[in-house]
Each structure stands twice: as structure tokens, then as C-alpha cells.
Amino acid sequence: MSRGSVRSVMLALAWRQLTILRKNPSLFLPPMLFPLINFAAFAGGLSQLRHVPGFEFKGGYTSFQFVFVLLQSAAFGGVFTGFGIARDFERGFARRLMIASKRRSGIVWGYALASLMRWTLVAIMLTAVALVAHMQVGGNGVDLFGLYVLALIVNVAGLLWACGIAMRFRSVQAGPLMQTPIFILLFLSPVYVPLVLLEGWIHGVARLNPLTYILTSGRGFISGEPTDVAIAFAIAFALLGCLGIWGLRGLKRAEQVV
């Protein structure tokens, strides 16, 4: 590995992020707690919705909601890392990174890797809790692999979005800009009931929402009835591509002022 290569920068930064997390376990709490609270609220509090006429989902309401919460945790896991990037800029640490890194794109990928690794722990915790809550898993190993890969992509996409914002604004005050669009996108998908049971304007919006396909495909994986797989992955990779450009362009902007 050559000094200053993208890979070395990426690994060094990911190591730093994880060291911070290891020394400050409380930083781990928000990305862990929110998905668990949401899972409890949705799967626990809204399970009656499966009795609504037309609610056809093989896997049970717990797994129905698990997929949404998993994707939500993935997306917001990326956003939380974005907060950290903004803080690094505010505290001047970003300048150190820029000076030290020969290949600066490694900085973006380093944050992405750290976000992925952190989210993996969240996903493990979430999965364990869901299984304890008797979540029905209809899918086989390949299906579940597909589900987690989708979620992984969403995590990186979320990070790239937040990274682009963080590098353009270089302040934690841009936090709402990082999380609000993601939040709206998530909640304008079929969160509580399948798409077919949504009425009015929200049905139309959800149909156009790219996350709807990822969510539907994820639910198909967990119930063992894969649905819209090709389109879901196409959208996921397209998001990754577009947001990757967004994130790297953000880095270019930051380079001009640091």
C-alpha cells in the first residue's frame, strides 16, 4: 500500500473514527436507540394494522416494520457520520486531514467505511432484538443477503449525501439539511401499510419515491417472496453513483476554502 494512497487514507480515517467511538461509547447511543425505539413503536404499537382489509403481507407485521427500521437506521447511520464530518470542520481537524492526505478522496471513503462498520453493529443489534420479538423470517440465506446488501447501500448513500452537505457548509448547523430530506424521503414511502393501502396524494408520491422500491424489495426478501429486485438494486446503485459524485464534489468545494 503506497503512502498517501486512497486506500491508506481511507483505512487510517476509518480507524480514527472507530477509535473515537470505542473511547466514547455514548456516541453510539443515538444511532442505536432511535431505530430500537421506532421498531418498538411501529411493530409493537401498530401491529393491529395487519388486520386492515387488503393488508397482504406474508411475513407478519414485525418483519414488515423491521425492514423499514433497518433501512431507516442505515440511512440515518450515514447522517450521524455526516454530523461528525461537520464537527471535524468546525474544530479544524478537517484541515489536518486535508494536509495529511495525498489522495483526498480517501477521506470520503474513510468516513463511508467507518459509517458502514458502525451501522453493522446497529444492524446486528436490531436483528437480534427483532428475532427475540419473534420476527418471522421467510427468506433464505440469499434473500437475507440481498436485504442487508440493500441496507448497506442505503447506509453509504446516506453518508454520501450528508458528507456532501457537511463539506459544503462545514458546520453542524447544517444538520437539519442533512437529515430532513432523508427523513421526508423515508416517511413518504409505505411506512405503515403496503403501497396499495395508501390513499390520496401520499399514494402518488410514494409511487414516485425511489425508496419505495428498495423498501418493497427488502420486505420481499424477508418474507421469502422477492419483489422488484432488479429495479431496487438499479435504484440503489444509481443513488450511490449520484450521491458519490455529490460527496466528492463537496470535497472539492471544501478543498478550496480549507
Partner: protein, 258 residues
């Protein structure tokens, strides 16, 4: 005006002025609950088809949620602002005046209540424009507003207690998941009798937030439910009293002046 009233008025004046001059503290709590109201009231509309659901309008059912979420934001604002005062030494400046401790605590609510009042007007206006009909009539709307402010005072005082106890804005923010948990593990999304999962229903039953929501909701969809209102007001006033008691204990430890 008595000295105590003067102190409260001056601190409240300052607190509300400061809050209104922070756009993020005003705009986000105003818009975010409305966005969620729009999304959830449509996304969960199917719930009205469940046997025993008390109304045909999920918007009417869900309207109180905006006020509770707004109160949560008010708590964060009140707590963070006071924590900042402690951090910057402004708290010491106030301690050097004849200001009585409780005057500070009660006065700090001024900002939270100003914010909550503006929010309440906005949420009510949106609800009425979108066709929510108050079964309790115009007097019910006034009672609704009063109760909403008492609820905001309870949450705001909780934020103040946390600030006095920890002296740190970050610590106040880190309590957000816990307060969010209280908000969400309640009868926010479905009536308690329609919550299928036992532990969730039991948790919602002992959660005081459920009674706050149900009291507000009763004014919208039922009319004059004396029991619901009595419970709602008792719980809210009780929460204010408990939080104020805790805040005064924390204040005694924080303000070590002789």
C-alpha cells in the same frame, strides 16, 4: 408588581426574546411536526378501517401528536438555552443579582411557552384549514390551547431540570432519545384498546404522555369527555409540579451562592 413576579417577568422576557431570535429554534419545531402530521395522517389513514377506531378522520385523531412533538422541541430549546447560560457564565451573572432561584426556573419557561404558543396556533390553524372539526366547539378549542400550553410547560420544565442537573447543552441533547421514547410509546398512533401487543399497551397505559394525548384528542373527536380531560390536566399539572421540584433541587446544587 411583587419582586418575585418582576423576576419571573424579566427572565421570561429575556428567554422569549432569545428564542425568537434563533431561527432554527423557531422554524424547525414549527415545520417538522406539521410535515409529520401530513405524512402520518395520510400514511396511517388505513387505520380508520379498523373495527372500533373512534373516528373516520385520522387527521383529527392524530392532530394532538403535533402539539406533543412541539412540546418536546420546546423542552430541548429551554434546556439547551439554560445549559448555554451555565456554560458561558451568564448563569453566574444572574446569580450575582437579587434574583431568586425559582424566579430563574419559572422565568426560563417563558421562551419555551412563547415558542409553544406560536406553534400551537400554527398547528391548530393547519388542522382547521384541512377540515378538522372540534366536537367540543369553540370553547373546546380554547381549552385545547390551554392544555397544550400546560403540556408544553411540563416538557419545558423537564428540559430545564436536565440543564440544571448536567450544565451541558450536549447532555440536554443526549436526553432527546429518552424523551422521544416517552412520546412514542404511548397512544399516539392508535387508541390503547386497539394496541394488540400487551407490553406496548401496558407501557402506553402507565405512560403519562398517553393521557396528555388522549385529553387533547377527546376535545377534537369526542366533545366533552370529563374523565379524559381530568386525567389529562391532572397528569400535565402533576408533571409540571414534579419537574419543577426536581429543577429546584438541581438549582440548589448548581447555584452554590451563599
Amino acid at each position: 408588581m411583587s419582586i418575585a413576579m418582576r423576576d419571573v417577568f424579566l427572565i421570561a422576557w429575556r428567554s422569549s426574546r432569545r428564542t425568537m431570535r434563533q431561527p432554527a429554534a423557531v422554524i424547525v419545531p414549527l415545520t417538522f411536526p406539521l410535515i409529520l402530521l401530513a405524512v402520518n395522517s395520510n400514511g396511517l389513514k388505513a387505520a380508520t378501517q379498523l373495527p372500533g377506531f373512534p373516528t373516520h378522520s385520522f387527521l383529527a385523531f392524530f392532530l394532538p401528536f403535533a402539539f406533543i412533538q412541539g412540546a418536546l422541541f420546546a423542552a430541548m430549546t429551554a434546556g439547551t438555552d439554560l445549559a448555554r447560560d451555565i456554560d458561558t457564565g451568564f448563569f453566574n451573572r444572574l446569580a450575582l443579582t437579587p434574583l431568586r432561584g425559582m424566579g430563574l426556573v419559572v422565568g426560563q419557561l417563558g421562551g419555551a411557552l412563547t415558542q409553544a404558543f406560536l406553534q400551537a396556533i400554527a398547528y391548530l390553524a393547519v388542522g382547521l384549514v384541512l377540515g378538522v372539526h372540534f366536537a367540543s366547539g369553540p370553547v373546546g378549542i380554547l381549552v385545547f390551547l390551554v392544555l397544550a400550553l400546560v403540556i408544553a410547560a411540563a416538557w419545558g420544565m423537564t428540559g430545564i431540570w436536565i440543564a440544571l442537573r448536567t450544565g451541558s447543552g450536549e447532555a440536554v441533547q443526549s436526553q432527546f432519545p429518552l424523551l422521544f421514547f416517552f412520546m412514542i410509546i404511548s397512544s399516539m398512533n392508535l387508541p390503547r384498546n386497539l394496541i394488540e401487543v400487551d407490553w406496548f399497551r401496558d407501557a402506553a397505559t402507565i405512560n403519562p404522555v398517553s393521557y396528555m394525548i388522549e385529553a387533547l384528542r377527546s376535545l377534537v373527536i369526542e366533545g366533552w369527555n370529563v374523565q379524559a380531560l381530568a386525567l389529562g390536566f391532572t397528569v400535565s399539572i402533576g408533571a409540571v409540579a414534579v419537574a419543577m421540584g426536581l429543577a429546584s433541587i438541581a438549582l440548589r446544587k448548581r447555584m452554590t451562592r451563599t
